[in-house]
């Protein structure tokens, strides 16, 4: 029984991992772009972007999932996502990417804005171009400062993926819950916790390692 459950849960966990990995892959760069927009000198760019960030950060991810999944059907009169599991995955991914990009963008903005003006000015009087200044001087300092908040966000994401089941996205808790109905046993549901713990433990180790690597300067 234990092996059967483990194998099933592993299968569900693959769904979790897929959503987790693809969300990170798209939301990190999108977050950087959004952060530049939210710091833009142009009001036409900055204000709408800050508004969107406010909405996304101010409403539950669960609600955003529902709106993105059912919204097109209701407002456009046509189900953009299709009816299969692939469609549900796409909808979940889009909701997660938008949500996490907004959170990351605020972390990036905080990191970029925390670099003192003196760093830019020192680079300028040495004749460095803007690109050289960003890549050679600013970027690593920003990365160092954002590693702890990004690591928090990433670990939250591992657990947030379970929210996607409101639109019937197949992941590990879904799989665990199935055993209650099919076999009348509840321990597989608790067992899912071990998967989360091990995975977030690995991530914690990895981020700890990165933090240590960047410890050589202040």
């Amino acid at each position: 029984m234990f092996t059967t459950v483990t194998l099933s849960l592993l299968d569900g966990f693959l769904g979790t991992l897929r959503l987790f990995a693809l969300t990170l892959l798209f939301s990190l760069p999108l977050g950087l772009i959004i952060s530049f927009g939210s710091m833009s000198r142009s009001v036409i760019l900055r204000v709408p972007i800050r508004f969107i960030i406010w909405v996304i950060r101010g409403t539950p991810l669960m609600l955003q999932l529902l709106v993105i999944f059912y919204g097109p059907g209701i407002f456009l009169g046509r189900n953009l996502w299709g009816s299969g599991s692939g469609g549900r995955f796409m909808a979940a991914l889009v909701a997660f990417v938008i949500n996490y990009a907004c959170y990351f963008s605020e972390i990036f903005r905080g990191g970029i804005q925390s670099i003192s003006k003196g760093q830019y000015e020192a680079a300028a009087v040495l004749g460095l171009t803007r690109t050289q200044t960003f890549f050679k001087i600013i970027l690593l300092q920003v990365i160092k400062r954002i590693v702890p908040p990004v690591s928090n966000e990433v670990i939250t994401l591992v657990k947030d993926t379970s929210l996607a089941r409101v639109i019937a996205f197949y992941e590990i808790i879904w799989e665990g819950e199935r055993f209650i109905k099919s076999s009348g046993i509840i321990w597989p549901l608790f067992y899912t916790g071990a998967f989360y713990l091990i995975f977030s433990g690995l991530l914690t180790l990895m981020f700890g390692f990165i933090e240590k690597k960047l410890d050589y300067f202040r």
């Binding site: 003192s116 003196g118 000015e121 300028a124 004749g127 460095l128 300092q141 300067f217 202040r218």
Partner: protein, 252 residues
């Protein structure tokens, strides 16, 4: 011929006029100190020379080349970068790059500005500069491992590495603990003795008297007095200069 000619520089922030027409010139190899009370526009003047602020009006000429001419309007980024290299700048807060060692701080810009230059030469020059600053045993330390005085000396070496025509200092010892100012003033004095062309904004009156060929006193966005140290510091004519100097002496 003067190495630097500054003519009628004006700078506003919003509608407040901070520099109201600054003119002076200096010869190659000279050390010029600028004194003046806080808020008189000294930092703004140095920032204009380094194009960290663009003056609203006036002319800046180095070695006979007009770098800025108030009427010529917008300067492009690459023109700005080229003009900046005539000046070096040492900041009050050092502004070293924390992720680079002392030596890397000094060699970074020379390496980036001229990719064709031999890296080994740049490295050697950087080491020589840091040795001159008395930091031969600190080259591979990161800024946070250095005292304020050592950091400021690295910053001076970093500025010298680009061989600027004129090296500017904005209160180089104001952020330092009193016991660390001496080591920084000492290397600046050595530079003066080797005829490095320098403009030094400072509150260290005795130091200014010792190293300067000439002293400017600024007040309210103007240069109100100018002359040899003995004249400006010991026999000031302007009322504001007298008041400033007596307030400094009282503090000391």
């Amino acid at each position: 011929m003067a190495i630097l000619e500054v003519k009628d520089i004006k700078k506003n922030f919003g509608n407040v006029e901070i520099l109201k027409g600054i003119s002076f010139d200096m010869e190659k190899g000279q050390t010029l100190s600028i004194l003046g009370s806080s808020g008189s526009g000294k930092t703004t003047l140095l920032r204009c020379l380094n194009f960290l602020e663009i003056p609203d009006d006036g002319e800046i000429t180095v070695n006979g080349n007009v770098l800025f001419d108030g009427s010529c309007g917008n300067l492009s980024d690459s023109e700005l970068n080229k003009s900046r290299l005539h000046f070096g700048m040492v900041f009050q807060q050092f502004n070293l790059f924390p992720q680079y060692t002392a030596l890397e701080n000094v060699t970074l810009a020379p390496e980036l500005l001229d990719k064709n230059r031999n890296r080994q030469d740049i490295l050697e020059e950087g080491k020589v500069l840091l040795e001159k600053m008395g930091l031969s045993d600190r080259m591979n330390n990161y800024p946070h491992q250095l005292s304020g005085g050592q950091q400021q000396r690295v910053a001076i070496a970093r500025a010298l590495a680009l061989k600027p025509d004129i090296l500017c200092f904005d209160e180089p010892t104001s952020a330092l603990d009193p016991e660390l100012t001496g080591e920084v003033l000492k290397v600046i004095k050595e530079l003066a003795e080797q005829h490095t062309t320098m403009i030094i904004v400072t509150h260290e009156i005795e130091f200014a008297r010792n190293v300067s060929d000439e002293i400017l006193f600024m007040d309210g966005g103007f240069i109100v007095e100018r002359g040899a140290p003995a004249q400006v510091i010991d026999n000031p004519e302007n009322e504001r200069t007298k008041k400033f100097l007596s307030s400094i002496h009282r503090k000391a």
